[in-house]
Symmetry: C2
Subunit: 247 residues, 2 copies
């Protein structure tokens, strides 16, 4: 049973403004939620239907737990088919990353990705391929948007997401920048070496002019048909696969 | 200016039942629409705002053209931000495909894909990599769903989509079946040869038991991290890239 004011509070967290104000975001579904349990994220409260009690017993005593009806869950969920459980999780402090953290590995860098589903899918894919960091421009969609969290399918706790000024970041990162562009060398002929940054641009506008200057190697996924472009999450995945295929 | 009854007619086409009844589907946006002009698809009518007249002059005289207000377009659109133009396009007769059509090339086969965005992205990716056919199980999401059409970003006219009974199809296709499974050989070590069918399963349940028996080679995208699975459009893309990298 939850109160009307709780319902409107949780619904307010569908909006970025109120997530920022309250420092909380929404995770839905037992499977996604279970990836947050025991992670670095701190769980604030859990709203669940049915008999999840044994699975919830592992939670710290500070977590507020509410049993709710299906109707109540439907009211606070963003999903068409709400999934047994909705949790509020605390937004951690903004992450910092150093040259040392990044050294000897590959990382994705996203310049202005707007679609929540794309960002979520990229995080999930990065987790599959064992990439630890994704660096996002400040105008990239917010990672705590419920649609992003949903699309990560529980991968969010394992991938560190950093928002920063990318031009400045490239200067201090100390790694070669591979840019996904339409007029570069074939990805199949690119020697990625053993470390680097893979830069992918906005869905419509691509990589911003300012950042194109920072690219060391322009890399293209060759086109064999007639589509004008690839979805950015698809491009990111093909890059992840290519850097891993020789590792 | 359009009538109330036209608005409710177009809105009814958001539902599969009425698309089937009237044999029409919705295409939104000038860019996507322009890919249908001059294709094998027959355009029934166009609703546009602003001054698109020169671009629309190429259309056959049978096409009904209506100039509408932004408010009217918003009423008939499925998009949050309607894009200047909405067209109704005739659903063509169900396609058939023969062994001869398929010979000497690679094709995607989808077993029960449910998410419209996934199917649309797969069609767009297939178009990028020059794949001509996608064969779908009968329970795969309908390709004329407006969200599928939207996600194809104009690629639909260039990729032929066939719905059929897959078990029966595999028997008559005369091509080796490569199945995307979690316990197969590495995709990086798979010899795909010069032709074949790439079978991908449902988002949650994977490939159905009945169809697993038809697989000649089980192929896996190696996992380097901890995500439980990859998004199916992402998997499809990595398969498309791998079959092309040696071609």
């Amino acid at each position: 049973m939850i109160s009307k004011s709780q319902i409107s509070f949780i619904k307010s967290l569908h909006q970025k403004k109120f997530r920022k104000e309250h420092g909380l975001f929404i995770v839905e579904g037992l499977k996604s939620f279970s990836e947050f349990v025991g992670s670095e994220y701190e769980i604030d409260s859990v709203f669940y239907t049915g008999d999840l009690s044994p699975k919830l017993s592992k939670l710290s005593q500070n977590v507020k737990i509410y049993r709710v009806s299906n109707d109540e869950l439907a009211k606070i969920s963003i999903l068409n088919t709400p999934q047994q459980l909705l949790a509020l999780v605390k937004i951690p402090r903004a992450l910092q990353v150093t040259q040392k953290d990044l050294k000897g590995a590959f990382h994705l860098v996203l310049d202005g990705i707007q679609d929540p589903g794309n960002l979520g899918t990229i995080i999930r894919t990065a987790d599959w391929f064992g990439l630890k960091y994704i660096i996002c421009s400040n105008d990239t969609v917010e990672v705590y948007n419920p649609k992003v969290v949903q699309a990560t399918m529980g991968s969010l706790p394992r991938v560190k997401i950093i928002y920063t000024d990318l031009a400045h970041f490239f200067e201090s990162a100390g790694l070669p920048v591979f840019g996904a562009l339409l007029n570069g060398i074939s990805i199949y002929e690119t020697d990625f070496g053993h470390e680097g940054l893979i830069l992918l641009g906005n869905e419509g506008k691509g990589i911003s002019t300012e950042l194109i200057k920072k690219i060391k190697v322009s890399v293209t996924i060759p086109r064999f048909g007639e589509a004008e472009s690839l979805n950015v999450a698809v491009s990111a995945s093909i890059f992840c696969s290519e850097i891993r295929r020789n590792s």
